[in-house]
Symmetry: C2
Subunit: 551 residues, 2 copies
């Protein structure tokens, strides 16, 4: 059985990162432990990384927002001499199962996006202080920062050598960020991406690959100055954060149990049910009370547990093709917990928790499994939880009384959370995406805010795929699940990736759409992964051999 990957960690357990806090500036040092790889069989030399390194980085970014809201500038630097970061570890990639490679890229992409979200949502700016070689995924880390300083010496350069060296793409947003974020001219980008040794000095700045090139002798001073300047420009920050205490979690073969989330794994039927339980107590009276509850507050606790469940299923249960979302609880209470945050959107912690839900729901959107939401009696699809109706590929809702079921009849409840603060990667809300080009349908939904919509009402507004009564419910769901289990997982992945993101595209959807799809394609091609391909041959001294046909 493969090793279980755990997405929970904490600073005391970090092997690869160090954070030094200095008022509004945090110094984030990458100093990867060569022998600290997540799996056997490779060494993480030259600050190269594997999923374990990125799990720690994700934890850093997350804690920075909740535990260190006083920080407005995070300076990313290397703890090694002569190398900033060499990117994803090639031996790891060469040896990894295909599905691990894909999910590794997805998670690292999400972490890079979280850098940018930190500034956009909370004014925490990541800047990269690049000394030494900064190649591949290393430069993609820098690209995810919103300011890049490069020292001007012969050993320091930025590079995306994947195509010439490894016959794969810079798969963590590199190509997209070069053209769409940094606006590097496409022919210069072509030169850059096919130059193994990269670009350094003034040329790197002229082409837009970095923001500033600084003589080596002045580099540390200039980095400090810039960090202070950005911090001064950032204005007042909250003084102290809350602790993200360890999750309550029990992991078994067929179940993962949290305080607000229960995951049931059905390996036989190749599906998992993710039950989210509404709050059992009333909402905190005010934000002071919420802050006092801290990580125990339902809105935050539930987001953390739900996110962990999704990540667990992605990486540790790739054979489960269908995720079923259900909820149980009091919808009014969900709305009350949520309302405290929406009503205090100016409060730093309220903003953080809502932004966090946004990121968690985006993880759902890009999860390559068939997603179905079942709106059962007794459920609490209200506000933020109602988003699961539209994040799913389909949703089914119980209609009228079910024999022997005394739970309150299924309802859907809108809140302002559904109309703005939780956009998808395409920058539209899930309802806007659902009703693309149908403004009337969107207005009608908006007008229904405040009501609890029963099955018929939800169906009339187009909020669910199908409503089913006691007679049909079980059969219809069973047939759907069996059907889904019978289809090709690959075809479903492709179909879902296309149907989920109608409408406008953003840098983010381009990364998960165009770039990821091409990378996945290349990860299947013998030129990259075959026995004579570049990933296998890398470091062997023998050149890769390529099938020359262009397709």
């Amino acid at each position: 059985m493969p090793k279980r990957i755990d997405f929970q960690t904490e600073p005391a357990r970090y092997k690869h990162w160090r954070v030094d806090y200095d008022g509004p500036v945090a110094w984030l040092t990458m100093d990867v432990d060569e022998d600290g790889g997540l799996f056997e069989g490779y060494q993480l030399k030259l600050n190269s990384y594997d999923l374990g390194v990125d799990i720690e980085l994700n934890d850093v970014v997350q804690r920075m927002r909740f535990e260190h809201p006083e920080v407005s500038v995070v300076v990313m630097q290397s703890g090694k001499d002569r190398v900033f970061c060499a990117g994803a570890n090639i031996q790891m990639l060469g040896g990894a199962a295909y599905s691990h490679k894909v999910n590794f890229c997805k998670f690292t992409n999400e972490t890079r996006n979280a850098f940018e979200a930190a500034e956009a949502e909370s004014g925490q700016k990541y800047i990269a202080a690049v000394k030494g070689a900064c190649a591949g995924g290393g430069y993609e880390l820098a690209l995810a920062c919103n300011y890049i300083l490069l020292t001007d010496d012969s050993a320091s350069s930025v590079a995306l050598p994947e195509v010439p060296l490894l016959a794969v793409l810079p798969g963590t947003g590199g190509l997209t960020r070069v053209t769409d974020k940094r606006r590097v001219r496409r022919d210069l980008a072509d030169v850059f991406c096919s130059t193994e040794e990269g670009v350094r000095g003034k040329r790197a700045q002229d082409w837009g690959l970095v923001d500033e090139v600084v003589p080596n002798s002045k580099f540390d001073d200039v980095v400090k100055t810039r960090a202070q300047e950005f911090a001064s420009a950032a204005g007042a920050r909250p003084e102290r954060g809350i602790a993200l205490t360890p999750l309550q979690r029990e992991i078994g073969e067929d179940a993962v149990t949290y305080s607000t989330v229960e995951v049931t794994l059905d390996h036989q039927a190749r599906m998992a049910t993710v039950l989210v339980k509404g709050p059992e107590s009333d909402a905190p009276a005010d934000m002071a009370a919420f802050e006092a509850e801290g990580a125990d507050a339902w809105m935050l606790r539930c987001a953390r547990e739900f996110e962990d469940a999704i990540l667990h299923l992605r990486l540790n249960a790739p054979e489960l093709g269908v995720l079923i979302f259900t909820t149980q609880g009091d919808p009014e209470r969900v709305l009350a917990h949520e309302a405290l945050l929406l009503d205090n959107a100016d409060h730093w912690l309220a903003r953080e928790v809502i932004s966090y839900w946004k990121r968690v729901l985006k993880r759902v959107d890009v999860t390559s499994r068939s997603l179905v939401t079942l709106v059962e009696h007794g459920s609490c699809f209200a506000g933020v939880l109602a988003e699961l109706l539209w994040a799913a590929d389909r949703s089914y809702m119980m209609e009228d009384d079910f024999e022997g079921d005394n739970r309150p009849l299924a309802q859907v409840h809108f809140s302002p959370a559904n109309f703005g603060p939780l956009p998808m990667g395409n920058d539209l809300t899930r309802l806007e995406t659902r009703f693309l080009g149908q403004p009337h349908a969107l207005e009608a939904a908006c007008e229904a805010m405040g009501e609890g919509l029963d099955a018929e009402g939800a169906d009339d507004l187009g909020l669910v795929t199908m409503i089913l009564d006691d007679i049909d419910w079980e059969d219809e769901i069973r047939i759907f699940l069996e059907e889904r289990a019978a289809f090709s997982p690959d075809a479903l992945t492709g179909m879902e990736a296309n149907l989920r993101f109608a409408g406008p595209e953003t840098m983010e959807t381009r990364i998960f759409g165009r770039l990821t799809a091409w990378q996945n394609w290349i990860f299947n091609r013998p030129n990259a992964v075959g026995p004579e391909g570049a990933l296998q041959r890398y470091g062997s001294g023998v050149r890769a051999e390529y099938d020359r046909e262009r397709v």
Copy 2:
């Protein structure tokens, strides 16, 4: 040696299509000859198609615009009983080489886009009159039409059964057009795309899959009425067109020679040079003279020959990884020929020829080869031909005198053609894409209109990747070409597809980007193409077997 695929045809040679002209309405009947497949080994049953069928269709659409400008409505219908079109032929797909599948999809996508372009650019509206089964690529044909009528009987339905039946995607824009063009709700689209038998009658209309459902008994009458209504709404049309006479062309092993284009194939070095020759005589005096020249007019002849050369290289020379674009001729004369059309943009034929160049240049943009443009002395990169500088992945320009070269020094000439009428698939001009987020650079280019820019001037404006003098030219180009030839063709395809289309996305770029990339991925996966995969097992009575892991 594989059979050479010829993209030239004419109505007298059609095997699969019939067009009946009735004033402003053309009746386009699909009646595929079962035994008329392009290759051996399959029968084109039930109006299924292969590339040969689509080459004829492309010819129909093209001639409709040039030879039949009086037509404002094209009604697509089936010549078979009980079936509209069964889509791409599965036996053909199952047996085809991977690169043929990919290029087949690309060409059919371009033809579908040409339906939509015909209405957008010339007011020729395609409507689909669907009687009988309309499945897969058949429904994608209908989706490319701008109005779909479906007869209401038990045998008639629309369907995208690719995922459940074949484990591949509807690869000719189906998924994208369902959500983005027809605005079908994504969960209903999910149901639709996983329902083998499709959707018929009122439900098809309710979901937005068709525009109108008509009782069988009234179908033919309603179709005629709609056609007349659309034709009446279209207003006045030109009375007669010009003949697209056969191309002058000689095809050899190492060269393809046209009157204005010379292709040299270097199989050893895996590259081809496409030389476009500027006009040898003066521009026609006015549009009457242009019309009299017809298909011999340089602007039209060159577009046709250049397009044929690109298609020939795509399908018949997949092992040539680099296309080198060069020109020779008098740039002022190119501008004069072009100016006649730009100055008479209201004239139907001027509009047709410019729109045609737009489509031809888009074919270049999505050609999966490394594209390089060499601006040599004596060249005529002016106006429409200058677009090749920015369609290419890189461009190199000669600087100053070259020993023994008496040709006029290389220059680049802008014209209004570079600032609007020839947008890429992302709806930006190539210069806008090149200078994304740099409005000053775009303005500076615009201000240079009318001047002939020498190497230094072109370099200052960022119009070429590199300028090289006599000393460096040969070596630099040689090194670049050798380097490109050494890289993995797959990695280059992925890299180029990402770098070429910065900025906004449109339905078209989504089809060629996201959708195509996922389809190419699936075309590599054993679940679709392996010995136990769905494409191989289709029709065998044995179910496909799938690897269940989701990636």
